[in-house]
Amino acid sequence: MTTLTQHTSTAPGKSIIEKLNVLTALALGVISAVVVWRLSLAFLPQDSEEARLFSREDKITLLSMCAWFLGFMTGIGALVGPFRWAMGKDLAHDENMFLAGENMGPKRYFRYTTDHKVVGIQYLFITILIFFLGGGLAMLIRTNLGTPEGGWLHAQAYNSIVGTHGILMIVGTIIMITGPFGNFIMPIMIGARDMAFPRLNALSFWLIVAAAVPLIWGQFIGGITTGWSAYNPLAGQAPLGMDGYIMYICIFAISTMVAGANITTTVVKMRAKGMTWNRTPIFIYGVVASVALALPAFPVFFLSQILSALDRALDTSFYNTAGGGSGWLYENLFWIMGHPEVYVILIPAVAALMEMAPVFTRRPLFSFNIAVLGIAGISGLSVLVWAHHMYISGWAPLLNAPFMLTTELISIPTGMLFLVLIGTLWRGRIWMTMPLMSIFALLWNFMIGGVTGIYLSDVPADAFLHGSMYVTAHFHYTLMGAGLTGALASLVYWFPKMTGRMFDKTLSWIAFWMVQIGFNVAFVGMFLVGLAGQPRRVESYAPTFNTANLVTTIGAYTIMIGMLVLLHGVISSARNGVKAPKNPWQAKTLEWTVDYPIPLENFDVLPVVTTDPYGYGKAKS
């Protein structure tokens, strides 16, 4: 049956599924955008005299970008299923097998493929690409800040680079664990054959590709000159590139919601027989907490950008005080997304390292219950802390004290995560590998990020620190020092399962030390200039800040070299690394029970789980 899909069936519409791939998607996207652009240029009425400047251009840009989006998604085949369903039919079995990429070879990576392992690899590829671009922009920023007078980049280009670096890295870090590992590893780990909604899984990935183009497009029509937070009313007067940001966020928000619904359903409904909540690996909890937090957060982000688009293109006044709106509305909407979002990034990284800790210490995870409580506590509290970003905005000074309370309370569940990690390391047998050292690195970086977070959570201290480089250093310590460290460890840990080959040990160590040392050098320097009074997002600064900025720049280049070594490691190990055994780390979770290459539906016979995966230690050996 499996070999027949290509040639024998004559089901109507099947040929269309076969024809669609990334090339047809690009072609249809570009054609739609050009057509809509020319049409709106010809037929949209001129702005009235009292309208905001360039409303018409905003309309044309947004319409063309929407056309690109719809064209691309149609061209990739996202609408085939819904269309068929609207006609009262569904895809036939062999069509579904074709969509899953059965016996298709490398071509399946360039199609609307529903197999979760293909989606996982696609996510891994796009995450690496995003880090490459975002990291490159970071190097431009740091190079510009190597000298106090700036001027190497034009101020507008600099602002746009800062904003694009920010939003690229935020998106990159959001997907860096739940994308590649949440899609590739998670279903196998819970003993499922695929995700609950395989077509939604493909949709969530291709939405990110569709979103990327408006962001790049925006760079050529003025750029994103507002920083990643895109505060209004500044975003209202920003150039047309802002429309690229708006489209990017809207599409990405849909992708996150789709992925969140999919992953949550999969974990709730499709765990193997016997995998009770007590026996579910902690990594699964981390992934679910992350996407479940994104579910309430990202619709708000979507909304905030829709209102922004309306203000720009249709002259509404949601964020315009003169017209009855308020910039504070934007800030509230933005940070209601923005603070859960940092835990969307952080929780799966910590959970992945918790998953690895017992493996590399050969002892059970310490206090599984506390780990789950910590993750749940962080998730719950994180939706109640957003206004600590607005202590000095003047929005509601009376609410500063309550928000200071909730913010400082979050240190309690965060402390629980520390307890679990350090408790698991304690009296274990230390197996010196890059993932194990990453746990120590996370403890160190997250400790610094956490303690500096206490100063920032304090309203009087925040009155000095807010908007300074100190904040920038603080959140890089949490998102990069903790989050990215967890993601890099996950890459090395699950690399054998994803590629069938071991990650080169030497390269993983070189990359680890260069990234960690470079990171700590770079961001300690940044704390220093923050304390000395350098604001964020400036392209030039007083000469007194020069030395520390130079230190940061040197640290940043060290990180870059480390990341390039890692990239080289990924490519060379995937091509001709040592062939990996089925279970190279002797771990006890289910993904290590399947052979490489993993068959299309993972398991011939679905596994039955009888214990939790942390049965290491004396009694079991």
Binding site: G150, A155, Q156, N159, G227, Y231, P233, L234, Q237, T321, A322, S326, T361, R362, R363, P364, F366, S367, F368, N369, I370, I392, G394, P397, N400, M404, E408, S411, G415, M416, L419, L425, W426, G428, R429, I430, W431, M432, L443, W444, M447, Y455, S457, D458, V459, A463, F464, H466, F527, A532, P535, R536, E539, S540, W585, Y616, G617, K618, K620, S621
Partner: protein, 256 residues
């Protein structure tokens, strides 16, 4: 191995790794506390107001409060890292225990982190309360601050207007801050105050400069093309100098 350990170690605090960690804990706490405090105190700007001084003492206090926790995590990490390490492609032998939890440890950890949290909250609230009262001071000098792309304007009660801020030493000031275009943030760096300038709203913040000198005002919220250059100076002068400057400036403004 295991038989040797169990009968001879009745008291957990006498185990060698606990002793080692305890000593390391004291050392790490001292080092982290000292280095953390010195890093902040030496690099932070020289205070020019009571607000800034209390920010610095808050940081000193929080750093010392966090140091034992950070010290413990560091000490345990160091003990683990200096214990027997296994290198190689195959896993080491299983650990000689299978401890899955320790309710007592978890309870102590939770109580301690709860108390530290409470401590940080109270410390912050006390200072916050003092600063909130400053805004209500009707005897204070009132200055209207207006941000625009990309400069600051300061308006005084007698009609004087300037782009540099002049203040008398040791007199409370209340700033009424607004913006004419986009959001800015009014940051008097060495006085430790900052408040956003929002178009269409007026926000307040207060300070009492306690040092004569020239200090920095910077914009702390990205406000467009020349955000980096949106800065000016605040001149804190004696009362007599201030009065002279103020009347001269008001006359100049009236004449113009």
């Amino acid at each position: 191995m295991t038989d040797l350990m169990t009968p001879k170690t009745p008291q957990w605090w006498k185990k060698p790794d606990i002793k080692k960690t305890f000593i390391l804990w004291i050392i790490c706490t001292a080092v982290i506390g000292y280095v953390g405090v010195e890093f902040h105190v030496r690099n932070i700007v020289e205070p020019a107001s009571e607000n800034m001084s209390s920010i610095i003492s808050l940081m000193r206090m929080f750093t010392w409060a966090a140091a034992p926790v950070a010290g413990l995590v560091t000490a345990m990490s160091l003990t683990v890292l200096t214990s027997k390490r296994h290198y190689g492609d195959n896993p080491p032998a299983e650990a000689d225990h299978e401890i899955r939890n320790s309710p007592r440890t978890a309870a102590v950890w939770l109580v301690v982190s709860g108390l530290l949290c409470l401590f940080a909250l109270i410390g912050g609230l006390v200072v916050l309360e003092q600063e909130n009262e400053g805004v209500l001071n009707t005897q204070a000098i009132q200055v209207n601050v207006t941000g625009q792309q990309w400069l600051w304007n300061f308006d005084y009660a007698n009609g004087a207007r300037s782009e540099d801020l002049y203040l008398p030493v040791n007199k409370p000031v209340v700033f009424h801050i607004t913006s004419v275009d986009v959001k800015h943030s009014f940051w008097v760096v060495q006085m430790g105050i900052k408040m956003d300038a929002n178009p269409g709203y007026t926000t307040e913040t207060a300070v009492t400069p306690n040092k004569i000198g020239v200090f920095d005002v910077r914009c702390a919220e990205l406000c467009g093309l020349l955000h980096a250059y949106m800065q000016t100076k605040v001149h804190v002068v004696s009362q007599a100098d201030y009065d002279a400057w103020l009347s001269a400036h008001a006359a100049m403004e009236a004449g113009a």
